[in-house]
């Protein structure tokens, strides 16, 4: 019904190219997250989809319609802004009804849909209030309700949770996810928060410097990052990377040796391994504990191995002391090899 497709979309601001020929297909009903550090172009891409920015090349399609040159109102989208952009001079009711009135719905229908939208987001008690009388979380819900009641098949969200405090954000995140399963709209969600992305997205498009570096499901993205950038941007703490050199099917690091990718003789490699995929006990790494941080559910260790330092997630009930010597074993199937010169993943044998 409404998939979204970007084909070679380019956007230039003065001398900087904000989007470099972006290709991306978002399926009907999918929750797609655009994730990346600030300035990577994710918000620009969203605004190009909304029609708030003109593209300088390529095409944007919604469903089977090309919308590249259409103004926002002809694209049949709805958007939730980072600042919520709730109209301060209108009551909550009129805010939610705004899009319906612009679409020339009948009065009884507007009334019905506003009530439904308010119910969906628990806003019924506030319909007669002005936005200034609401909390940040309530305003955010007004913005979402206003976007949803229009029935636009594509819902765009630009960091809708970033202005909420941590606890509320956790709650709102779950609410948005529930809402998506309820209303099944194609959703494009921009965030710089990798946890938000992992927890909400059906798929995530990771962006950097105006390009999409990897698009995949959260699990694949987390387990098999396509580059050093993705591995270190996603996950907290990020993926560990240890220098090594390939030699006859093995990788030789600073004081350790492990089975490596074939056919890379003499190349500089990085061994990527997530902190929770390292077991303590008999293994190829020998290192010294620098810091042990008990975090309740687990203890986070920083271990020095040769010239590299490694984050390791250890069971909470084990006791570690600084300068303690440890042997560590990375789970072999969780190792992700990267080419140090390109920063890209080495074609995995599996």
């Amino acid at each position: 019904m409404a998939s979204v497709a970007f084909e070679a979309v380019r956007k230039v601001f003065g001398k900087t190219t904000a989007l470099k020929d972006i290709d991306l297909v978002i399926r009907d009903g999918e929750f797609m997250v655009l994730l990346g550090p600030s300035g990577c172009g994710k918000t620009t891409l969203l605004r190009c989809l909304a029609g708030l920015e003109r593209i300088d090349g390529g095409t944007v399609r919604i469903g089977d319609r090309e919308v590249s040159d259409l103004p926002p109102r002809d694209r049949n989208i709805a958007m939730v802004f980072q600042s919520y952009a709730v109209f301060p001079h209108m009551k909550v009711y009129d805010n939610i009804a705004f899009g319906l009135r612009m679409r020339k719905k009948t009065k009884p229908e507007i009334e019905k849909r506003v009530r439904e939208g308010a119910a969906l987001l628990q806003l019924e008690p506030y319909l007669d209030r002005y936005p200034a009388q609401l909390s940040g979380g309530q305003r955010q819900r007004v913005a979402v309700a206003r976007a949803i009641v229009t029935d636009a098949p594509v819902l765009l969200m630009d960091e809708p949770l970033s202005n909420l405090d941590a606890l509320l954000r956790l709650h709102a995140r779950a609410e948005l996810k529930r809402l998506h399963t309820d209303v099944k709209r194609t959703t494009v969600y921009v965030t710089h928060d990798q946890i938000e992305a992992l927890s909400m997205g059906d798929r995530i498009a990771v962006m950097k410097d105006g390009e999409i570096v990897q698009v995949d499901t959260p699990v694949v993205l987390y387990d098999r990052p396509a580059s050093v950038f993705v591995g270190s941007f996603i996950g907290s703490p990020p993926m560990n990377f240890m220098r090594a050199v390939a030699k006859d099917g093995t990788a030789v690091g600073d004081g350790w040796q492990i089975a490596g990718p074939p056919g890379m003789d003499g190349r500089a490699l990085l061994l990527g391994i997530r902190p929770e995929n390292i077991r303590i006990g008999e293994g190829p790494f020998r290192g010294r504990v620098v810091v042990a941080e008990p975090l309740g559910s687990h203890t986070l260790l920083t271990v020095k191995i040769g010239g590299d330092s490694l984050k390791v997630v250890a069971p909470a009930d084990d006791v570690f002391k600084p300068d303690q010597m440890l042997q560590l074993a990375p789970e072999p199937h969780k190792i992700r090899w990267m080419d140090e010169t390109t920063g890209g993943a080495v074609a995995a044998p599996n």
Partner: protein
Amino acid sequence: MTAASAPAKRASLTRRTVIDRVLLYGAAIFLAAWTLVPIYLIAVAAFSESLAVYDFPKSLLPTQFSTDTMSFFVNSTGVLPSVKNSIIVALGTIVLSLAIGAPAGYALARFRFPGRDMFHLAVLSSKMFPIAILSIPLAVAFIGIGLYDTLLGVVIIHSAMVLPFVVIVTAGVFYSVSRELEEAAMTLGTSRFGAFMRVALPLALPGLAAAAIFAFVSSWNEVFAATILTVRERTLPAHILATLNQSPLYFKFAGGFFMIIPSLFFIFFMRKYLFNLWGPGR
């Protein structure tokens, strides 16, 4: 030792804040008196018996309250027609200056266009030329195009004089209306113009009203251009100035008080926006 010196220190600090307070309030009272006392004296004279103006020493309280002086002023030849002219010109100035200035202000607030900073500066620099220097060439030009001694001519001049202020104020007003609000309206189904009309304009209205009131008061008080550019179609200040030499003292006081009234209203409406414009935070 520290225990002993601590209260002493506190006492001296309090003394200093007291002195600071006294100086601050003293200065504030002095500045307020500087403007309020003349206004008060004018008001007293305007509402006393006509001849009380010549009393000496003056009574500081309105001992003989009377509206004779004011009614004498209002009913003098030429006053009512010139009041009418003043109101027409002031309203015309509001319409013209906002019609030109508000879109310019909106453009300054919303768009980054080449020469934007130059334009900003140019708007202000039009204030560099004193009307006294411009008035003679203007009078000549106005005679040439048939605008001399017409209310339209005065409206045009007054609009030109308040335009820089109107542009800067409306730019500030529109700047304070978040761009995302208009964008939100556009994603919800309005055109660009529709977003302006339904969202930006209603939110900017109080600020635009303030700019309008400013235009009104500026025009209402303006003497020089109105005097040079008119002969028969006098505005009130021009009329008072022209008749100044032949009029009795109490007539001047009454006229002065009459001229002040709109400004007083203006200050009450405008205060908030003046602070926005010049106060901290912008």
